[in-house]
């Protein structure tokens, strides 16, 4: 989804660091209806005056094409708020619950030298538990900011105030880390280090109104919260498309040769490019795909990747490549087709202004980032924008580029009939009710999958978890392997039971396993499972059209469901299971459990 050019222009003209500028941009934006189809609702449960964040948060949410709604619980009444009827009404409609706590207000005794941090840690953990229980979606916690001017900074001891605050922050970190996809941690301490004392604290309003933060700090806090919502809504970018010359290294390989290009761990100017490559490796390890799109002789590029002594990126790190002299916009379209991903999940990095403009103009859904004129800013360029922030990193993510390579091998399989090919794959699948260790991956798939997704409903791990326990809900997962390797958890079906009707709320498959009839095996297996456990008289299913999921418009009819209604973008289908035989393609082996 892409915000209209006009909305984008109004927002990008504003400078997020400046309060008057953000306020007037919002003033203009909120006068009009931009037709944003998706909303984002954020609720603050807090112990200090945090209302000043509202314009910044709305600004950053609009920038991700989300229609924001922001609400605040009572001042310092977290526990009462989260059991109130008001919260009960908001609970399921809220995307992000923010527990915003300052240490001084949470534990007034923390200002005194004899403060017992152990006791505070216990109370803090109990409050985290409580907020997590009362949240129906994503929960955001924060760290506390240690003293910037402690007494005794020359001879620090673990028992110092700083040390005790670190202990509290470790508790928050551990709490979030052990609940992937359900709890995120906004590291206030890190934001304060970015900004420094002057830009972080308003000591004056801290005392006068319990509003201790400067606008600059609230802006960064809002930006991090917006990253979390964007990740939850499936807005994270998935692919970085890279130019080579003056992007992955300094200089031009075709002119300067392997010896002449600038790339070195310690010597400028090559060291900035080396660190940029290292940043790309970090992204790849988090499951972001890398692809090359450059004007070069292909052999020279592969030679540089293979033989330059300091080149960190190797051929196998790239999921796709287009190296040649054609139009880059066309190359991007063909890479999108090859990877079966939408162009709106692409970030394009190039040093040439002309190439950047060309892509911006012809493919407005692609995020374009020009290599900065100050090379020293290149290594942090991608990290600062938060475009790739995801809520969880799964085992599948780390293996992603390996899987894409295996895919390429699969496609290079010898010419044979489709049937022979499918038999030769030796596909083995498991279908079972979701296990607790699979919940983050299931939530991630609902957040990221666009193409083979019948209803495109996005869910948090907390929501999936509650259905896993609910006898009137079923979450089924598909795990696949074949002779080339393990493809991991790649399919999800969610159903609800009401009386004698079973409704399929969600059916999705990762795009890397399509075209192999696995969807038939999976759905048949799920329907058989639900038939025997729930004994429904009727299955009901839906298809909700988006710009991405046209390929599955007639899926339910292929599965012998009949269409019973259609309105706008939504069609409803039904199937009477009595007497129907469940069929699984003969070349797919099903393992129990």
């Amino acid at each position: 989804m892409r915000i209209s050019a006009e909305l984008e222009r109004v927002l990008s003209e504003a400078s997020a660091e400046r309060l008057p500028s953000v306020l007037s941009a919002l003033h203009r934006v909120e006068k009009e209806d931009w037709g944003l189809s998706e909303s984002a609702s954020v609720h603050f449960s807090r112990n200090f005056t945090v209302e000043g964040i509202e314009p910044f948060l709305k600004y950053h949410l609009y920038r991700t094409a989300l229609r924001p709604s922001v609400s605040f619980g009572g001042y310092n009444t977290v526990r009462q708020d989260l059991v109130s009827p008001d919260w009960e009404r908001r609970r399921t409609r809220t995307d992000l619950l923010v527990l915003a706590l300052t240490l001084e207000d949470f534990a007034p005794s923390s200002r005194l030298p004899e403060w017992d941090a152990q006791q505070t840690t216990k109370e803090l953990r109990a409050l985290f538990e409580f907020a997590h229980q009362r949240s129906a979606s994503l929960l955001a916690l924060n760290t506390f900011i240690g003293p910037l001017y402690p007494f005794g900074s020359l001879a620090p001891r673990a028992a110092d105030l700083s040390g005790r605050i670190r202990q509290l922050n470790d508790c928050a970190r551990e709490f979030a880390d052990s609940r992937p996809g359900e709890v995120v941690l906004i590291d206030w301490d890190r934001l304060a280090r970015i900004l420094g004392e002057e830009q972080t604290f308003d000591r004056r309003y801290g005392y006068l109104a319990r509003a201790p933060f400067r606008p600059a700090f609230l802006n960064l806090y809002a930006q991090e919260l917006a990253f979390a919502v964007a990740a939850l809504k499936g807005r994270a970018k998935k692919v970085v498309i890279l130019d080579c010359d003056n992007t992955l290294w300094g200089g031009v390989i075709g002119e300067d040769g392997l010896e002449g290009i600038q790339l070195h761990p310690a010597e400028a100017p090559g060291s900035a490019f080396y660190d940029f490559q290292a940043a790309l490796l970090h992204l790849a390890a988090r499951g972001v795909l890398l692809a090359l799109c450059s004007r070069n002789n292909e052999a020279e590029v592969w030679d540089a990747l293979a033989h330059h002594p300091h080149c960190l990126l190797k051929r196998e790190h790239f999921a796709a490549s287009r190296i040649g002299w054609e139009d880059k916009a066309e190359y991007l379209v063909s890479i999108a087709r090859e990877l079966q991903l939408g162009l709106d999940s692409f970030v394009f990095v190039d040093d040439s202004l002309a190439e950047c403009e060309r892509v911006r103009r012809s493919l407005p859904e692609v995020v374009v980032m020009q290599v900065p004129a100050e090379r020293s800013e290149l290594p942090l360029m991608l990290a600062k924008e938060g475009l790739f922030e995801s809520l969880t990193v799964s085992a599948e993510d780390a293996k992603r580029s390996a899987m894409i390579r295996q895919d390429a091998e699969r496609r290079r399989a010898p010419e044979e009939s489709l049937q022979e090919y499918l038999v030769s794959l030796q596909q083995v699948v498991r279908v079972h009710r979701v296990r607790s260790d699979e919940i983050p991956r299931v939530a991630q798939l609902t957040q990221k999958t666009n193409q083979f997704n019948l209803t495109t409903r996005r869910y948090s791990a907390a929501q999936i978890s509650s259905w896993a326990e609910d006898p009137n809900a079923a979450v089924l997962t598909l795990t696949v392997s074949d002779r080339h390797g393990d493809l991991g958890l790649t399919g999800v079906l969610i159903a609800h039971r009401e009386g004698t009707t079973a409704t399929i709320d969600t059916l999705l498959m990762s795009c890397r396993i399509l075209g192999r009839e696995l969807e038939i095996a999976f759905v048949e297996r799920c329907l058989a499972d639900l038939s025997s456990s729930w004994k429904p008289e009727l299955f009901r299913a839906e298809y909700i059209r988006t710009t991405k999921n046209g390929q599955v418009a007639s899926f339910w009819e292929r599965e012998e469901f009949s269409k019973t209604g259609e309105h706008d973008q939504r069609a409803v289908f039904e199937l009477v299971p009595a007497g129907r035989k469940w069929k699984v393609p003969p070349f797919i082996r099903i393992l129990e459990g």
Binding site: R18, L19, P20, L23, S24, H27, E30, T49, E51, G52, P55, D202, R204, Y205, Y207, L208, A209, A211, R214, P215
Partner: protein, 82 residues
């Protein structure tokens, strides 16, 4: 345009963005007593926005006592003259 008029125009811009009004709708008569939307939270936002716009810093005493367009105008004009 003299300095006072320029100051007034820029202030109206900031008041407008804080109170969600167009610049022309901001009257110099506006004060905390006469304008319902001007509550204590708006007061904070207004002070911070004016400080940002005019690169000044109001004292603790001022942020507690300045409560009308004219009072802010005087406080800012005094700073400009210094």
């Amino acid at each position: 345009m003299d300095d006072g008029l320029i100051l007034e125009a820029r202030m109206k811009e900031v008041f407008g963005s804080v109170f969600n009004l167009d610049r022309d709708e901001v009257s110099p008569e506006i004060s905390m007593q006469t304008f319902g939307a001007w509550d204590s939270l708006r007061q904070i936002q207004l002070v911070l926005a004016l400080e940002d716009e005019f690169k000044v810093s109001f004292s603790e005493k001022e942020v507690g006592s300045l409560s009308s367009f004219t009072q802010f105008f005087e406080a800012l004009r005094k700073r400009a003259q210094r």
